[in-house]
């Protein structure tokens, strides 16, 4: 018999993982579309505007999927995690409500105008609408990450009667030191997804010799944005996140790094398989002293391993978070390499003729999705066994009266529904990409 808690966790894990496939592209494309529209307006270059409109079509389908898979997230706190909601709602409910009130209205209103507004709002209106959609999607990301940052590192609260968390300062919650690095890290991750998608589709057209004018714009935009984001992803945002972890969640850091033994001059594990019984890494490939240096900027600094903590405080699934983290960091390193070479080729004017690079860009499109997902697995799995770090254990957070059978029923329902949604999404976006950024014939009132 699978236990109820695991079903609730799978329920949330599955639905949030699927959901986040969409917002990461929404946020990544939003900034690129806004940049293209602004550049088009300032330089009076209609090609950039057409590039933006092509990506707006992809954005629109992606946005709807993000909306319809996002609503269940807000509901699930109440349906499946009632104890968490009851205890932490005074704080996390507020950041989530801030998101809907300050971000969703902005985003949905101006997306409607951007997509359907056309001649009603004019060129300048189009630029402003694109900028406001960008603002809305990034503000939305801010409040979500602020909610998560509170769960990772609670601030701005006190424990009230009955153990419920009472918000004492919204300012403290929103200027959480954890949020300061987590937010840019998550956002540059989203830009990576958007940049790789834009560059990859451009590379696909260049390799096929189609839509060359638009393809060059896509590749150039994607590569420049991707190069910036891939560097920011590791330094300073990823690096600072790691040091935040060392300070506030040392046991999670030990699990992510696969460090079983505490000691000075801790090595950095590049590969290796955690053996939980023997409490060691099998087949390790280690860089001596590197973990100490990366964490504390001193080669001989003492880093706490898992042995420094009682096992009931370890992340519930150490191998999972270890692998997730290593997948994320490994892919992040590849992204830097790919994008820096691509930018160099672009600067030399040789990118368009470099078949290996175009193939690489085209095939790389799925990997930022994997890296972003793995990063969230590491962050959320690393926080376990806590749902609010140090305050509320995940085991005490689920709805008391919802049975495993009910949770399994709805989990299966979501799986079926999301399988169908994936088909619709891939079909539509595949169709848009196959059709390409040709001047559109009016396809009716709906227009897209």
């Amino acid at each position: 018999m699978v236990d109820v808690l695991l079903l609730h966790r799978l329920h949330f894990g599955f639905t949030i993982t699927f959901h986040y496939l969409f917002p990461q592209l929404t946020m990544g494309l939003a900034i690129l579309i806004a940049a293209l529209e602004v550049a088009s307006y300032l330089r009076r270059d209609d090609r950039l505007h057409r590039a933006a409109r092509f990506w707006a079509k992809v954005f629109a389908v992606n946005f709807v999927l993000g909306v319809v898979t996002g609503i269940p997230m807000e509901f699930q706190f109440g349906t499946n995690w009632a104890e968490f909601s009851r205890i932490a709602g005074g704080v996390v409910g507020q950041t989530l409500a801030l998101e809907s009130v300050f971000a969703f209205f902005l985003e949905s209103t101006f997306l409607g105008l951007y997509l359907y507004g056309g001649e009603r709002i004019g060129r300048r209106g189009t630029v402003i609408a694109a900028l406001l959609v960008f603002a809305g999607s990034w503000i939305s990301g801010f409040f979500i990450v602020a909610t998560n940052a509170f769960m990772q590192h609670p601030v701005g609260y006190r424990v009230g009667p009955g153990g419920v968390l009472v918000m004492t300062s919204l300012r403290e919650v929103l200027s959480n030191p954890w949020l300061r690095w987590q937010y840019p890290h998550v956002m540059s991750g989203a830009v990576l997804t958007g940049a790789f998608a834009v560059a990859g589709v451009g590379a696909f057209y260049l390799l096929g010799g189609r839509h060359l004018e638009q393809a060059r714009i896509f590749v150039r935009t994607g590569v420049v944005a991707g190069a910036l984001a891939s560097v920011l992803q590791i330094f300073p945002t990823g690096d600072s996140q790691g040091r935040m972890l060392a300070e506030h969640q040392p046991v999670a850091l030990a699990a992510l790094e696969g460090l079983f033994e505490s000691g000075p001059g801790a090595p950095l594990a590049i590969v290796g398989q955690p053996d939980m019984l023997a409490r060691r890494l099998d087949n390790p490939l280690l860089i001596p002293y590197a973990l100490s240096f990366l964490t504390y900027r001193r080669w001989m600094a003492e880093v706490k391993g898992l042995d420094a903590f009682p096992p009931d405080e370890w992340p519930t699934n150490v191998p999972l978070v270890y692998y997730a983290y290593h997948v994320m960091v490994g892919l992040g390193t590849f992204f830097i390499a790919i994008m820096l070479v691509a930018v160099w080729l672009l600067a030399r004017g040789r990118l368009e003729r470099s078949k290996p690079m175009l193939w690489t860009l085209m095939l790389a499109v799925p990997f930022p999705y994997i890296a972003n997902t793995a990063g969230w697995f590491a962050a959320e799995g690393g926080r376990q066994p806590w749902v609010v770090y140090g305050l509320l254990r995940t085991g005490d957070a689920a709805s008391r009266q919802v049975s495993g059978g009910n949770a399994l029923f709805t989990l299966l329902g979501f799986m079926g529904m999301y399988a169908l949604l994936s088909l619709v999404f891939l079909f539509l976006v595949g169709r848009d990409i196959a059709h390409g950024p040709e001047p559109e014939q009016a396809s009716g009132v709906d227009g897209r």
Binding site: A60, V61, L65, V67, V68, T69, I71, P72, E74, F75, F77, G78, T79, N80, E83, R86, I87, A88, G89, G90, V91, V92, G93, Q94, L96, S100, V101, F102, F104, F105, L106, S108, T109, L111, G112, L113, Y116, G117, G118, E119, R120, G160, M167, S169, L170, S399, Q401, V402, M417, L421, V424, L428, R431, A442, S443, G444, V445, D446, G447, R448
Partner: protein
Amino acid sequence: MAVATLFFCFLALLLAGYVVLDGYDLGTGILHLRLAKNDAERQEVLATIGPLWDGNEVFLIAAGGTLFFAFPALYAASFSGFYLPLMIVLWLLMIRGVSVEVRSHVPAPQWRDFFDVAFSLSSLLLAFVLGVALGNVVRGVPVGADRVFLLPLWTNLLTGPQPGILDWYTMLVGATAVVAIAEHGALWVALRAAGPVRERAREVIRPLWRAALVLTVAMSAASFAVQPRLVQAMAAGPWRLAFPVAGALASLAVPVLVRRGRAGLAFAAWSLFLSLLLATAAFGLYPWVLPSSLDPALSLTIDEVKAADASLRIGATWWPVGVGLAIVYTGYVHWRFAAPSSSPAP
């Protein structure tokens, strides 16, 4: 006024905003296949809600968020207690949102027929389920001394201490919601569309209005019978009678305004009617927020479920600003898309 009461009013305001705004696009969905006879007409019907429905739905999300932080214990108890029906609502919202957005992407008639039917059916079921939800809140749920409950979808279809989500009363409220929302959609399409679509919308306004009033009277009588608290509240504070009385007047104004060709005012009057119906229920129960079907004394009250006043006072600093902005955006986009477009959108 206590800050929790303020948030009770805020929440009622958001829910009324949701019913009025998403109500017209749900109603448009219910009538979609009835009002439009070919693909061009269907596009015309959908164009009246295309850029607007998503923003309207945000009122539901904002209401959920406000419920979450202002009344965490109510959010927790009711969302977990209504576990299955809420999941059904989520699935319907998904089917509906995807259907309306993707149907025009592909010209194949099979594709469009499928998503048109899916959109219309999910709109109808959503209106029904939302009505059923309201019925459940008014009738009460078996919340006991442990302060939680879990409602099955149905038991014996009777109200009583151990009811199901669906019983004769909640289904009556659901049916009333479907017809009242359909009328709202008809008034909307009559306001925003043109040509034969508009004519067909005008034709259904009158019969839907009659059906909605008959059902509303029956549903109101049933509500007073099922939930004696409503009668006591009206007797204790007769000011509460203002809501149903004003609601009745607003509903009676609709056919007059339609006959005089004041489509906008007719839509506004019906919006007022829907809001006042909701207000009648909300203030008829207050300070209860979720009655107990086991024992009235076990009902969840606002004092029990509210967040700490300190949290609420923080919320009160930004909530009116944010919702004020949201109302401005909503008004702006409705105004922007008010006149029919002279040429197809890009």
